[in-house]
């Protein structure tokens, strides 16, 4: 009866499919339905304590566990990549507790759990994108108290949020928010898009896929249903803009994707590569998930990412 936590065993004996019991999943699904009915509204839910730390995707994991079925194909990314440690760890978790088929290809996935990125590949109807959210409250910096911030949402009092953008323009001449850039959903609720770069904000607008957001620590779920308006806050005379790079991806040559800056030596050498590994591999016609990257010298430094 005490066979549980050992990290070496690949067994999931004693656990329900996808870890959560069915009653808990039903509770979460009810919260998800409510969230989809009121786009951008944060629904409190009875988040369970998960075997991963708070802030490491427990909200996203609970959402994924509640919507996933045995026929689904799951993709997990962190910073756009399938091979970052936390993405691997979450994928392993679902392999263990749900014996689920996983994939690194957006086109094959039915459910994609993500931290900090929206895939570059356009999503299609029927896909579900699950965002991990550390802090669901876009007004936290303005009204740290939940009692007040919930009122501001209820009465749609968002003037103070706009003031923060005004302050940026007054100070720098432009809006200096670059990730976790607040959006107005369906013209009604102010929403945090999670800490994705603002580069990804436009992808949320009118997206055919279902976008679900889970915060385990703060016990909140919210959602953007397919084809919903998601507008990034801005001014008429200082319109919203996304990041641009002078460089293109050193591997696939993409000039339109979000780039990671990589330091190549200790003399200031650096290069820019796609943060979305699946997208980059697809453009190069390579198989994602192999340890070798086409176009780069072999000799992977396994282990250095731990």
């Amino acid at each position: 009866m005490i066979q549980v936590m050992s990290s070496n065993t690949e067994t999931s004996k004693g656990y329900n499919f996808a870890y959560l019991d069915e009653q808990t999943k039903r509770m979460i699904r009810r919260a998800l339905l409510k969230a989809l009915s009121i786009p951008g509204y944060q629904v409190p839910f009875g988040a369970r304590e998960m075997p991963l730390p708070c802030g490491w995707g427990t909200g996203g994991i609970q959402v994924t566990a509640s919507v996933i079925g045995p026929a689904d194909r799951l993709k997990v990314i962190d910073q756009g990549a399938d091979d970052t440690t936390n993405a691997i760890s979450i994928r392993r978790f679902f392999k263990k507790v749900a014996q689920i088929v996983t994939t690194e290809k957006v086109d094959e996935a039915t459910v994609i759990q993500t931290r900090h990125r929206v895939p570059e590949t356009a999503l299609i109807e029927g896909q579900i994108l699950v965002y991990q959210v550390p802090q669901p409250e876009p007004l936290r910096g303005i009204a740290p108290r939940q009692i007040e911030s919930r009122k501001l949402h209820a009465y749609a009092e968002y003037g103070a949020m706009q003031v923060t953008l005004y302050e940026d323009v007054a100070r720098f001449g432009y809006i200096a928010r670059i990730y976790e850039y607040p959006v107005m959903v369906n013209g009604r609720h102010l929403m945090s898009p999670s800490p994705i770069p603002k580069f990804d904000n436009p992808k949320m607008q009118n997206n055919p896929a279902i976008q679900l957001f889970g915060s385990g620590t703060e016990k909140r779920i919210y959602a953007v249903p397919p084809y919903t308006s998601v507008r990034s806050l801005d001014f008429d005379d200082h319109p919203f803009e996304v990041q641009k790079w002078k460089q293109s991806c050193a591997f696939c040559g993409s000039g339109t994707s979000y780039l990671d800056e990589v330091i190549t030596d200790d003399r200031g050498g650096r290069m820019f590569v796609c943060s979305d590994t699946d997208y980059c591999a697809k453009r190069r016609g390579a198989q994602p998930g192999t340890s070798e990257v086409a176009g780069s010298p072999a000799g992977a430094t396994a282990g250095s990412s731990s």
């Binding site: 003037g159 003031v163 005004y166 302050e167 007054a170 100070r171 008429d236 005379d237």
Partner: protein, 265 residues
């Protein structure tokens, strides 16, 4: 135009009837009634504990009175009992058609937001989305309250008390409210600073035709600003009338005491 003439030609803006509020056994204010007309400035004087602050809190919708009614002439629906408004309706009224100037500017302005941002908040909260226009409006108001435009992007915590108070006034008046509540607006300021503030206030109130209710224990403030005066003692209104009449010819012994205890200005 005299206050009396205004009264005769206009409809009531705020109609207060029989407002009472007590705390446990202690009386806050008792059976207060009056009518305020657009553009009229009403002073409420009395020493601390006389119930004037309780009354102001009731009028501004921050405190629910035990009995009585407070009707306000809203733009959309005409006279409405503010106690029957829902919380969001009341909050909306408070940030559009009303202004509230607190004694302590810290309670009324955001100390970590620039002066321009403070003034821009109300317009932005009701939909202003053009930075250039918001900023131009902020400049206009800083001018009106005599704050140097070079301070537009400075945070109010670097301002003097008098400047903070003038900023609070600008932040409130930018949406051109029809009614402003002021709670001891000159409290805590030096006499010389008070004079400038009163000067600015008087100019604005007359220029914009704003109605105001000013609670103060300072008779100099009401003499300068108020058309009409109510004197309160132990929760009750004991004397009221045109400001000059009340101050020059007080009837009640308490009012006489109040008037004689300050130097004539």
């Amino acid at each position: 135009m005299t206050a009396a003439a205004k009264v005769a030609t206009r409809r009531i803006l705020l109609d207060v009837r029989g407002v009472s509020k007590s705390y446990g056994g202690q009386v806050g204010c008792l059976d207060v009634s009056f009518a305020l007309y657009p553009g009229e400035v009403l002073g409420i004087v009395g020493e601390s504990g006389s119930g004037k602050s309780t009354l102001l809190a009731c009028l501004a919708g921050r405190l629910a009175p035990d009995t009585g009614s407070i009707a306000y002439d809203t733009k959309e629906r005409g006279l409405v009992d503010i106690l029957s408004l829902s919380e969001p309706e009341r909050r909306r009224l408070a940030r559009t058609d009303w202004g509230i100037v607190h004694q302590n500017p810290r309670d009324g302005i955001r100390m970590d937001v620039s002066a321009g941002g403070n003034i821009g908040e109300r317009p932005m909260s009701i939909g202003a989305r053009h930075y250039g226009k918001i900023r131009a409006e902020a400049h206009e108001w800083l001018n009106k309250v005599e704050i140097d435009l070079a301070r537009t992007d400075d945070k109010p915590r670097t301002f003097s008390g008098g400047m903070q108070q003038r900023l609070q006034i600008a932040r409130n008046l930018v949406t051109r409210p029809r009614l402003v509540f002021m709670d001891e607006p000159t409290g805590g300021l030096d006499v010389s600073v008070q004079a400038k503030l009163l000067d600015v206030l008087r100019g604005l109130v007359h220029e914009l035709g704003i109605a105001a209710i000013i609670v103060t224990h300072d008779l100099a403030v009401v003499r300068l600003l108020a058309d009409r005066l109510m004197v309160m003692q132990r929760g009750r209104v004991i004397e009221e009338g045109l400001t000059d009449q009340v101050l020059d010819d007080p009837h009640q012994p308490y009012t006489q005491l109040l008037v004689s205890s300050v130097l004539q200005v």
